[in-house]
C-alpha cells in the first residue's frame, strides 16, 4: 500500500512532462492507469516490480489497448495447440455471469466462457476442445509466463503495467467503477448522495483508491469496530445484505454479477472510470494474438445479432443495462 502514493506522485511528475499527450492519464491517472495491479475482481496482483513498470511506462504507454492486427493464418503457437488437440485456458470460477462453476451442472459458464468456446471453435473446430484451468487472480500472469495455459480469459484488465508482462488481444469488454446499492436507496451514483453513507470496497482496489481521492463524504475506511474493506468484491454484497454498509463501489462488470444474485440491489448512476478487458497470452505468441483478434472481429460482427451481443444478452443485460455493443478495437 505504501508504494501507491509514491507512484501517484511519480505519475503526476512524468504526466506533467508529457502534458499534452497525457491529459487523460494525469486526470484519471491514479484510477484508470497507474492502478497497475488492480483487476476486475478487486484483488491486487503483482509486486513492486509491476508498480515500477507503471512509472517507467507512464510516459510512453498511452494506448495499452492497441493490439496486433487480426489474422486467420496459422503459426508455431497455433500449430502446437492443434497438435495437442486442446486449448488450455485460465479462467475464473468465482465470478458470477463471467466465469463461474454452476454447482448444479458442475460446469463453467459465463460471458468469458462463451468467448473461450468461440476461440476453441475457431482454432480447433470444437467449442468443447478446452482444458479449463481455474486460476487464482494472483497466479494469472505466472500461469501465462510459465506456459501453464495458452490463454487467460478472466476479466483481466489491460493496462500499461501488464502489457510489459503479457500480450493482450484487442479489448472485448469495456468496464468501469460504479456504485451498487439497494433499489430503494437514496444513493444515485458516485456523487453527493454518498455523503455520510457507509461504503464497502475490496482491499487495495481501484474503487478504494477512487474513494480515497474523492469520497463525497462517504464512510469507507476501516475502523476498529467496523470493517469496510474486504478481501473480495463479493464480500461487499454480504456486508450490504446484513446491513453493515449502505453501498458498494466496484467494477460494474462484477457489480452486475452481484446484482444478478440479489434482485433487491442495482447499479446506480454511470461508471466513473474506464477499463478494458482483454484475452492475455504469453508475449511473443503473435500468431495466437492475431488469431484471437480475428475471432473477436467475427465475434463483434453483425451488430445487434452478433455473438457478442448474444452473450451480453444471456449473461449481463438484465443487470448491466444500456450497452449497445462491444468496444471498438484498436490496433497498432
Amino acid at each position: 500500500m505504501a508504494k501507491k502514493p509514491r507512484l501517484r506522485g511519480w505519475g503526476g511528475v512524468t504526466g506533467m512532462a508529457a502534458a499534452c499527450v497525457l491529459t487523460a492519464a494525469v486526470t484519471l491517472g491514479p484510477i484508470a492507469y497507474s492502478s497497475g495491479g488492480e483487476d476486475g475482481d478487486g484483488a491486487r496482483i503483482g509486486g513492486q516490480g509491476v508498480g515500477q513498470g507503471v512509472t517507467v511506462q507512464a510516459a510512453d504507454c498511452t494506448d495499452p489497448e492497441a493490439s496486433l492486427t487480426p489474422s486467420s493464418g496459422d503459426g508455431p503457437t497455433i500449430d502446437k495447440i492443434k497438435q495437442a488437440g486442446k486449448l488450455v485456458v485460465g479462467v475464473d470460477q468465482n465470478s458470477y455471469r463471467w466465469g463461474y462453476r454452476n454447482p448444479a451442472t458442475r460446469s463453467l459458464e459465463g460471458f468469458d466462457i462463451d468467448l473461450v468456446r468461440a476461440i476453441a471453435q475457431n482454432i480447433l473446430g470444437d467449442p468443447d476442445a478446452v482444458i479449463y484451468r481455474a486460476i487464482p487472480t494472483n497466479q494469472r500472469i505466472e500461469a501465462i509466463q510459465k506456459d501453464k495455459v495458452d490463454i487467460v480469459v478472466r476479466t483481466m484488465t489491460i493496462n500499461c503495467a501488464r502489457i510489459k508482462q503479457v500480450a493482450f488481444s484487442t479489448a472485448y469488454f469495456q468496464a468501469g467503477q460504479q456504485v451498487l446499492a439497494p433499489k430503494g436507496s437514496p444513493i444515485t451514483g458516485y456523487n453527493d448522495t454518498l455523503k455520510g453513507k457507509k461504503v464497502c470496497t475490496a482491499t487495495g482496489s481501484t474503487a478504494y483508491d477512487a474513494l480515497k481521492q474523492k469520497s463525497f463524504g462517504a464512510v469507507f475506511e476501516d475502523t476498529a469496530s467496523a470493517k469496510r474493506t474486504v478481501p473480495n468484491q463479493l464480500d461487499c454484497l454480504v456486508r450490504l445484505q446484513i446491513g453493515e454498509v449502505d453501498a458498494v463501489v466496484t467494477d460494474n462488470a462484477l457489480a452486475a454479477g452481484q446484482a444478478a444474485q440479489d434482485p433487491a440491489v442495482e447499479l446506480k448512476g454511470d461508471p466513473f472510470t474506464t477499463e478494458y478487458y482483454g484475452v492475455a497470452t504469453k508475449i511473443g505468441k503473435d500468431d495466437l494474438v492475431r488469431r484471437i483478434n480475428q475471432v473477436l472481429v467475427d465475434y463483434r460482427a453483425d451488430g445487434k445479432k452478433s455473438k457478442w451481443m448474444q452473450a451480453y444478452r444471456t449473461w449481463l443485460a438484465s443487470d448491466l443495462k444500456g450497452i449497445s455493443g462491444p468496444p471498438v478495437p484498436k490496433y497498432r
Binding site: G37, D41, A43, R44, I45, G46, G47, V88, G90, Q93, N94, S95, Y96, Y100, R101, N102, P103, A104, R106, I131, Y132, R133, A134, I135, P136, T137, N138, Q139, K148, V149, P231, N232, L234, D235, L237, V238, Q241, I242, G257, Q258, Q261, D262
Partner: protein, 467 residues
C-alpha cells in the same frame, strides 16, 4: 473421671494465698486489673508447686493434642474439598469448555465440508453440524449455571451465547444461496468462518483456559502440604515426650499409660496426615501430568486439526478469492499450513506426555501418521487444483476414498480415542487421590480427643498422688 477437673478447680485456692506477694507490686500501675494479668498471676503462683505445674502441663498437652487434631482435620477437609473439586467440579467444567470449543470448531468444519459437496448436503455432514451446534448450546447453558456471570468466564459465555445464533444465521444464508447455485453462498460461508475464527473460537478458547486455570487452582490448593497440622503435631508430640521424660525423671516410672496413649494417638494422626496427604498428592500429580496435561495438549491438537480441515475446505470454496496480505498466497492455504504445523507439534508433545503408556501412545502415533499422510495428499490435491482440475481436487479433498477427508477423519478419531484414554487416566488417578484423604478429618478429630483424654487421665493419676 469427673474428679480431676473439680480438684483442679479447688486446688488453686490454697496456692492463691501465697500469691498476693507479687500482686501489690503490680497494683500501683493499673487501678483495675485485667482478667489477663490476674490469670498470669494465678499461673505464676500455680507454677511454684508441683501439682500446679502438673496441672499446667496437663492442660497444655491436652490443648496441644486437641489443637493438633482440629488443625489436621481442618486442613485435610480443605485439601479433600479441593481434591473433590478437581474430580467432580472443575475438571468436568474444563472438559465441558473443551467440548464447547471443539463443537464450535467442528461445526465450522462440517459446514464447509457440506457446502463443498454441492447444493444438496450429505445427510451425515448436516447431522454432524446440527449435533455440534446442539452440544455447544447445551454446554453453554450448563457452563453458565456453574459460573458467576460477572467473572471472566461468565463474560465469555455471554459473548458466545450472543454470537452463536449470528453464526448459525450466516451459515443458513450460505446454504440458501448455495442451494440456488449462487457464489454469494461461498462469500457467506467465508464470512461465517471469519466470525467463527475471530470471535467465537477465541472466546471459547478463553473460556477453556479460564476453566482449566480454575482446575489448576484446585489442584494447587489440594496439593499444599498440611504444614500447620504437621507443625502442631510435632509440637504436641514434643510436649508429650517432655511430660513423660519429666515424669520418668521424677518418679522413675517408665510409662504413664495415659500419656503413652496420647502419644500413640498423636503419632498415628501425624503419620496418617503425612502419608495420606503424600499419597493423595502423588495421585493428584499423576492425574495432572498423565491426565489433565495430556488432555490439554490433545484438545489443542484437535482444534488445530479441525481448523486446518476447515481451511482446507475453504481453499476450495474461496477458489483463490482471498489472498494473504502480500498477495502471494491463498489465505486459507496459508492458514491451513500454520495449523497443520501446530497439529504436528501438538502431537509430538502428546507423544512425549504419553511415553511409557502404550494405550495412550498408540492412538497418538496413529493420529501423527494419519496427519503425515494427510499432508502428502493435501499437497497433491493442491497441485491438482492449481493445474486447473478443480473437480479432481474436490474429489481428493472430500471424496470417500484416498482423500484428505479420510485422513482428517482418522486423525480426529485417533485424537478422540487418546482423549478418552487420558480422561479415564485422569479420573482414576484423581479419584484415588481424593479417596486417599477419606476418613482422615474424622479420624484425626476422634484420635485427638482420645489422645487429649489420655493425657488428662495420665496427668490426673500423677496429681492424685499429691492428695
Amino acid at each position: 473421671m469427673a474428679h480431676p477437673p473439680t480438684t483442679s478447680a479447688e486446688a488453686p485456692a490454697p496456692v492463691q494465698t501465697s500469691a498476693p506477694a507479687p500482686a501489690p507490686v503490680l497494683a500501683p500501675a493499673p487501678a483495675r486489673r485485667s482478667a489477663w494479668s490476674e490469670g498470669t498471676d494465678r499461673l505464676r503462683a500455680a507454677a511454684t508447686t508441683e501439682p500446679g505445674r502438673l496441672r499446667i502441663i496437663g492442660a497444655v498437652i491436652a490443648v496441644l493434642v486437641v489443637a493438633f487434631g482440629a488443625v489436621a482435620a481442618f486442613e485435610i477437609s480443605d485439601r479433600s474439598a479441593a481434591a473433590d473439586d478437581v474430580v467432580s467440579r472443575s475438571q468436568p467444567l474444563s472438559a465441558d469448555a473443551a467440548n464447547i470449543y471443539r463443537s464450535l470448531a467442528d461445526a465450522d468444519t462440517a459446514a464447509a465440508s457440506g457446502f463443498l459437496a454441492g447444493a444438496i448436503e450429505p445427510a451425515d455432514v448436516q447431522a454432524r453440524y446440527d449435533k455440534d451446534i446442539a452440544t455447544a448450546s447445551r454446554l453453554l447453558v450448563k457452563a453458565a449455571a456453574n459460573t458467576d456471570s460477572s467473572s471472566d468466564s461468565g463474560q465469555q459465555i455471554a459473548q458466545l451465547n450472543e454470537w452463536l445464533p449470528r453464526y448459525t444465521g450466516l451459515i443458513e444464508r450460505a446454504r440458501a444461496n448455495n442451494r440456488q447455485g449462487l457464489p454469494l453462498g461461498g462469500a457467506y460461508l467465508r464470512y461465517a468462518n471469519q466470525q467463527m475464527t475471530t470471535q467465537l473460537l477465541p472466546a471459547a478458547e478463553k473460556l477453556y483456559d479460564a476453566e482449566t486455570g480454575r482446575l489448576y487452582e484446585d489442584y494447587d490448593s489440594a496439593e499444599i502440604w498440611p504444614y500447620f497440622g504437621i507443625a502442631v503435631g510435632v509440637i504436641a508430640l514434643g510436649g508429650l515426650f517432655y511430660a513423660q521424660r519429666r515424669s520418668y525423671l521424677r518418679t522413675n516410672r517408665v510409662f504413664n499409660h495415659g500419656l503413652v496413649a496420647a502419644t500413640v494417638a498423636s503419632a498415628v494422626v501425624l503419620l496418617w496426615l503425612g502419608v495420606g496427604h503424600a499419597v493423595a498428592r502423588s495421585d493428584l500429580a499423576t492425574s495432572r501430568t498423565h491426565g489433565q496435561e495430556s488432555l490439554k495438549v490433545l484438545n489443542d491438537a484437535r482444534i488445530n486439526s479441525l481448523k486446518a480441515r476447515a481451511n482446507e475446505n475453504l481453499t476450495l470454496v474461496a477458489r483463490g478469492a482471498v489472498l494473504t496480505k502480500d498477495g502471494t498466497q491463498d489465505q486459507y492455504e496459508a492458514d491451513y499450513g500454520g495449523e497443520m504445523k501446530s497439529l504436528l507439534a501438538g502431537l509430538t508433545q502428546a507423544k512425549g506426555l504419553a511415553k511409557g503408556d502404550k494405550a495412550g501412545l498408540d492412538p497418538v502415533n496413529l493420529a501423527a501418521t494419519s496427519a503425515d499422510i494427510w499432508q502428502g495428499r493435501h499437497t497433491k490435491a493442491r497441485r491438482t487444483d492449481d493445474n486447473g482440475d478443480y473437480d479432481g481436487a474436490l474429489t481428493a479433498v472430500i471424496g470417500a476414498k484416498n482423500s484428505t477427508g479420510e485422513c482428517f477423519d482418522q486423525v480426529d478419531a485417533a485424537i478422540q480415542k487418546a482423549i478418552d484414554h487420558e480422561q479415564k487416566q485422569f479420573t482414576t488417578a484423581a479419584q484415588d487421590g481424593r479417596d486417599a484423604l477419606t476418613g482422615l478429618p474424622i479420624g484425626a478429630a476422634v484420635l485427638a480427643v482420645l489422645g487429649a483424654a489420655g493425657a488428662a487421665v495420665g496427668i490426673s493419676r500423677r496429681l492424685s498422688e499429691y492428695r
